[in-house]
């Protein structure tokens, strides 16, 4: 890629560009969800797309997650390539049966006859002072489900690049966009080719420990690595990108070099994605570890409303720094 074509782009614009590109490349692709049309989506992702593609391809639906996610599954069966936007993961719970019992199982239970090539995008995460029922981080929970793939773009580049390969996938793919990231900006190339969505990526190289994160916590983890560098600690930052399947190869490769790891995950600690990554490390790299693996998760409470409480309930830079230091001070 030549630097001459780099354009400053926000995460929101990147998702929009990805949708626009997919709509142009494949006329089976369409977007549907609540307020995606005239209004441009509750996070303004689809702004302007209605004018460009018309109301059948940028489709406002009635207020029923179960109806439009289920209809998306049906559209995929009918030969379309739907992108379904659920406003937030919190409301995806009203479509959980369609996602878990239909999309995730149909191929298997039909003996391989019915593929469900649907992409379901949704915002996730806390940080907007909207209290528990608007602030869940359930992507790790979805990653528990066989039959669906789960992506978590944590950079502008991934927001731009992940959609098209997800649409090419014959299986249902869930894309989690952390709501705190929509305004994040980066310099972006105009074109994307052969974008791999299956691999974790090292976002910062380091040798003392591996900080493993994804999505909304990635930026905080990178900032924590920066803090650690100031006190002479070299932290590697690994971005999982795909939460299901997990790229355990890249995870183990990093942990085998650094011998220590901390997982940063906005989900609740018990039964979290962090727990799964820790268990995998235990299974595959136990003898390479110099210390027990640490984790920074959300406090196991419904996310509270008051700003200072909300901030204290979810992973923050000082907590990550402290956990890293603890793992470094521990010896087996």
């Amino acid at each position: 890629m030549s630097t001459a074509t780099l354009v400053k782009t926000s995460y929101r614009e990147a998702v929009r560009a990805a949708i626009r590109e997919a709509m142009k490349r494949d006329n089976r692709v369409f977007l549907m969800g609540e307020d995606v049309g005239e209004y441009g989506g509750c996070y303004a992702v689809s702004m302007g797309l209605l004018e460009e593609f018309g109301p059948e391809r940028i489709r406002d639906t009635p207020l029923s997650e179960s109806a439009f996610v289920g209809a998306g599954i049906g559209a995929a069966l009918g030969g379309m390539r739907p992108i379904v936007e659920v406003m937030t993961v919190n409301f995806s719970l009203l479509a959980l049966d369609q996602i878990l019992n239909t999309a995730a199982t149909l191929l298997h239970m039909s003996g391989g006859q019915f593929n469900v090539p649907i992409v379901i995008r949704m915002a996730t995460g806390a940080g907007r002072q909207l209290a528990a029922q608007h602030s869940h981080s359930l992507e790790g929970w979805y990653a528990h489900i066989p039959g669906i793939k789960v992506l978590a773009p944590g950079t502008v580049e991934d927001a731009r690049g992940m959609l098209w390969p997800a649409l090419q996938d014959p299986d249902p793919v869930l894309i989690f966009e952390n709501a705190a990231l929509y305004n994040m900006e980066a310099e972006m190339p105009g074109e994307f080719k052969d974008f791999d969505i299956s691999k974790a990526k090292i976002r910062r190289a380091g040798s003392d420990l591996s900080l493993i994160s994804y999505g909304g916590s990635l930026g905080k983890t990178l900032a924590a690595a920066e803090e650690l560098a100031k006190v002479g600690i070299s932290a590697e930052v690994l971005d999982l990108r795909s939460l299901r399947p997990l790229d355990t190869e890249t995870i183990m490769d990093s942990v085998r070099r650094t011998n220590r790891a901390v997982i940063v995950d906005e989900g609740w600690r018990t039964g979290s994605l962090a727990a799964e990554v820790m268990a995998s490390i235990m299974e595959q790299a136990f003898y390479d570890l110099d210390a027990p693996v640490g984790r920074v998760c959300s406090e196991e409470v419904p996310i509270p409303y008051a700003k200072h409480m909300e901030e204290a309930a979810i992973p923050q830079i000082p907590k990550i720094v402290a956990a890293a230091k603890e793992v470094l001070n521990a010896h087996v």
Partner: protein, 365 residues
Amino acid sequence: MIADTQNFKPFNPDPIAVLSQSGDWIAPFALTLDDETLKTIYKHMLAARLLDERFIKLQRSGKMSFVAPHSGHEAPQVAAAHAISKGTDWLFPYYRDYAMTLALGQSVLEILAQTTGSRLDTAKARQMPMHPGSKTLNIFTGASAIASHIPPAVGTAISMKIRETGQAVLTSFGDGATSEGDFHAAINYAGAKGAPIVFLCENNRLAISVDFNKQTGSETIAIKAKAYGMPGYLVDGMDVLACYYVLKECVENARAGLGPSLVEAQVMRFGAHSSADDDTVYRSKEELELMRQRDPILRMRRFLEKQGLWSDKAEEKFIKETQLAFQTALDTLAEAEKVPLEWMFDDVYAELLPHLAQQKKEFLG
């Protein structure tokens, strides 16, 4: 008494109104409310309007994270509060219902403490604004997922019936909410059980930006009641007294064992959907101005003035008193300390379980 005088017919094609735009009594039955009640109803609407304006200011200055303005919805909300029996019946409101909870008796201090996340908040700064709740007033704490409060409302009503408590439930929601499965599942159950509940749809013909015509192929929401085996009434939602009489009759029918009803109040949303919304994207200024001419507060004020019950002076005095009450509450809140962080670990369960006690300890370092 009231039921005898009105006997509203369900599935009426034109919305029920008892006041004309100019504030004349146009009902075929006699007014039964006394002067004090009429004035109180008006004051509740006006106070709610002022509260809405105050909310917006507080949101803009960063003291509240979110507002869903209720201006234009005051009539059915205040009517509902007057139609039910305070502290006996139960209310399952939705997020745009502060005129309802204010009229039911939630204090300004309690409302502002909750919406600003104060230490004085009964919900302990955990619940977001626009989600009122009160155990003492039997107000179910608001739910963020649209329509998800309706099944619990029905469950409470069924339990009232089984236990023969003589209470009733009123639950409210927007037109968009009627597209959710929870609405249909719940109202169907209520119909099957003959539950003592009133379903109040505040139909402003918008769900954020989505027009009513995209929401349903049905001409009205009220007509849906037919399929669930209960009466459905269409009411002019800008006429507070029409809302009152219809809701009152429905609540009394529920209490009398006559089962549930569905009331569709045709309202207008004067403000944006919420503080996160720019409504100029999907509607024009002219449209809004036309709506405002039908302001429910103006109509009731004209009526009161014609009865000699209200004046410019009374209006001015009441506004002053209300603003002062807001300011006094805000001053009290400004003096309160911040909510201690460790409060977040309480009430996850009835008791602090060992794993949470451990996490709390680690959290406090």
